[in-house]
Amino acid sequence: MHFRHILSALGRHRIAVCLLVLEIAFSCAVVCNALFLIGTRLERMHRPTGVDEPHLVQVDVHSVTPGTAEALMAQTRTDLATLRALPGVTGVAIVNQTLFGDSIGFSGVSLSDDPKAPSIPVTQYMGSAQLAGVLGLKLAAGRWFRPDEFIGYEQLRNGATGVPVIITRAMAGHFFPGQSAVGKTIHAFGTNRVVGVVDRLVQPRDYGPAEYYGYAMLFPVEMPYPGGTYLVRVKDPAQRQAVIQGALRALKADGPLRLVSPKYATTLEAERGKYYRNDRAMAWLLAGVCLLLLVVTAVGIVGLTSFWVAQRRRQIGIRRAVGATRGDILRYFQAENFLLATFGIALGMLLAYGLNLLLMLHYELGRLPAYYFPVGAAVLWGLGQLAVLGPALRASRVPPVVATRSA
């Protein structure tokens, strides 16, 4: 194929060529960035939490009338025993905040009690003795809390300090890079000695810079039930709904008038779905816009190529008359489109890069990885070839006899 001939022919339709190239370039830029955005959303949705999600259900019980701290703690222990005795349950704990939940507690953490020391907010999980086991956390170093280390929430509220702490590996890496965190002290609730490091545990919901997502601390603090949520670990994920029903029945039957409702009992998996539904909706929306954009671009290519074919009927007839086969004509238009698409893609890559820089400026977004460029290019080349097929086939059917007719 002689690209030189195609180029000189295109030179006669400079405006139309520019428009097509521009359209392909804009599409390419938007599609590359939209695909990247979809990719980041999917990646975000699949971040691990470090928690054994399929085996967990949670039941939130609210008090209707306030009671004394002692009475609430006693009721909490009774509830834990009741839940533990349910069939299909392998562990129960109470925790101050749940993954993907609405509430999130933080403490400023620093390495010294000097008020000028740099500190970052780290989320704290406070739970009863079984919590680590129920969540299915994995210990990376050190040890779990000892039974005698657990205190009631009221004691912490009244200023108890020196509580031991277990931190995540990511948090350990931030505060103690390159060394073991076990045995070191951090300053959160007074002075806290790190007794263990868990592999991974995350913030209940995203808060602060992205790298803080994996920073979390565990404290051996037992919450009273109005300030916490019961976490129930089931043996078999298929039994989750049955366990929820059983737990609601058991809790309703026992204790003072409380708010025990299916509204506040759910599986962790459902909570995850709810937490990420905006991301899922956004990914679908981006995919939809990409698709529409490609359709519009294809429509533009079909329209302009049809126009060219109509304009060049006589030239095509002459070429057929002097010996060009139908295949030659078809390939001519395909090559022409390939050339245009290439120009468009080249310009589109630059635009895509620029658009990405603009997005990085305004949103928390990374750099567009290089592999999105060939993906975008392949999509637009393919689209161009598909769109041009119809008009090109029509062109190839122009009979040679057209050449002999006067226009």
Binding site: I15, A16, L19, L20, L22, E23, A29, V30, A34, L37, H62, S63, V64, T65, P66, S103, G105, F106, S107, G108, S110, P115, K116, S119, Q124, M126, L156, R157, G159, T161, F189, G190, P226, G227, L257, L259, S261, R277, N278, A281, M282, L285, L286, V289, L292, L293, V296, T297, V299, G300, V302, G303, L304, F307, A310, Q311, L355, L359, Y363, A407
Partner: protein, 435 residues
């Protein structure tokens, strides 16, 4: 002449239905997508209290310890502590002032067919209602004396009144909140400011609280606090901090009726900070802000990033649609070179041809605008089915309806400029000869 051009345009557009349909579809898709996202953006960045928001201010002070303080850079805290809130409230330096926070209360209906349920509540001082212009369907708000007396009074909103009392006048009736009996003094009328500017720590958009009780009373009864809380130093955890804890968890709003009053109040915040520093409570130099409602919303970037991203995306899409339309329009006009040549030869000026062709693209734009409007309505219907908290607000208003047609017409005329100019360049003689 204009009527004649319209006639010519419709004839020409009817001649090649497929091409016309493609052009209309392209512009309709672009307009539909842009208007859907623009409407959402418009709704979300709206003024929650038109006419009032300019005189409502959110004072911010900085009671934290010296840790991490960068002079001139560190923003003061987004809420106030109990002590500061009470001090500022009692100073009464503004035209109106209210200290408030949010929570959830358990409601035990008298009607035993209803289970106890939870309702979002606002614990606030009395000025909340006149300051924010809250309308009342029945009864009235409580007053400062009730705040002082820790009165067990409550104001409820319409939906809760419907649920508990069948929508009747419930003032004077008893409501059991968190196990304590409250007397209902008022039922709020239609009031739902969006964004939920006075406490952005909870949902920024969507439904408001159903129950309002005096802040003082809520503390007596031990109603739980929900929403943002930020502690420093040796601040405690938990949901409701002790009143002397170094934690911010309350919102303080003031009404200042003139810019001079606002400047004076700002000065008051500075001197308050200095005084507290002298007392040893504050450790930082005075670090204050006094933002009005719109500045406060802007500072908090309350419009979700996703919505702004969608708007940008939609306009990128509109741009591609327009380039596409320019191409199709060019093809269409160039094909009519013969006809245009005849008109030129018969004496029509280039200007007249240009006008005629622009009218034609304008017609495409208007039809595309109607299509775009339908698509935008469909798009907004889809948005309303989204899980986002602002979803229910996504409705088109007359302003946006008008904007749709302006955008469609403007875009199509813009798209028509180049093809029309190009088509006017035909040399009549050449066109006549070749035909």
């Amino acid at each position: 002449m204009f009527g004649y051009y319209i006639d010519l345009a419709t004839r020409s557009l009817r001649r090649n239905k497929a091409l016309t349909a493609l052009m209309v579809l392209a512009i309709a898709l672009g307009i539909g997508a842009s208007m859907t996202t623009l409407t959402v953006l418009h709704v979300l960045s709206g003024d929650p209290l038109p006419g009032r928001s300019g005189t409502l201010y959110y004072p911010q002070i900085d009671p934290r310890d010296g840790q991490g303080y960068l002079p001139g850079k560190t923003e003061p805290m987004d809420q106030v502590t109990w002590i500061d809130g009470m001090n500022l409230l009692q100073a009464k330096r503004a035209d109106r002032q209210a200290l408030m926070t949010g929570g959830t209360v358990a409601i035990q209906p008298d009607n035993s067919t209803l289970d106890p349920f939870y309702e979002d509540a606002r614990y606030t001082t009395a000025d909340f209602f006149p300051m924010f212009g809250v309308p009342f369907r029945y009864g009235h708000a409580w007053n400062a004396a009730d705040d002082e007396a820790h009165a067990r009074v409550a104001v409820i909103d319409g939906p809760l009144n419907d649920k508990l009392f069948g929508g009747g006048d419930s003032t004077g009736r008893t409501l059991r909140l968190s196990g304590v009996a409250f007397r209902i003094v008022g039922v709020v009328g239609d009031w739902n400011p969006n964004p939920h500017f006075y406490d952005l720590n909870r949902k920024s958009y969507g439904e408001d609280e159903g129950v309002y009780v005096p802040l003082s009373t809520s503390q007596d009864v031990g109603m739980n606090h929900d929403g943002g809380m930020d502690c420093w130093g040796n601040g405690g955890g938990g949901n409701t901090p002790a009143h002397n804890a170094p934690c911010v968890w309350l919102q303080f709003w003031v009404q200042l009726d003139s810019p001079a009053r606002a400047a004076a109040y700002r000065q008051f915040l500075v001197s308050y900070s200095e005084q507290q520093k002298a007392l040893g409570r504050f450790q930082r130099p005075p670090n204050v802000r006094l933002r009005n409602v719109m500045q406060w919303l802007d500072y908090n970037q309350v419009v979700p990033d996703d919505v702004r991203l969608q708007t940008g995306l939609a306009f990128g899409f509109l741009l591609v649609c327009l380039v596409n339309m320019v191409g199709l329009m060019l093809a269409k006009f160039m094909r009519r070179a013969g006809e245009l040549g005849v008109r030129r030869a018969l004496g029509a000026s280039k200007k007249a041809l240009f006008a005629q062709l622009l009218v034609e693209s304008g017609v495409v734009g208007l039809v595309g605008g109607v299509g775009g409007l339908l698509l935008a309505l469909a798009g907004l219907w889809l948005v309303r089915r989204q899980p986002a908290s602002y979803a229910a607000l996504a409705n088109i208003d007359p302003e946006m309806l008008f904007a749709t047609f302006v955008l469609a017409l403007g875009a199509s005329l813009l798209a028509g400029l180049l093809p029309a100019w190009r088509a006017c360049q035909v040399t009549p003689a050449l066109q006549l000869k070749s035909n």
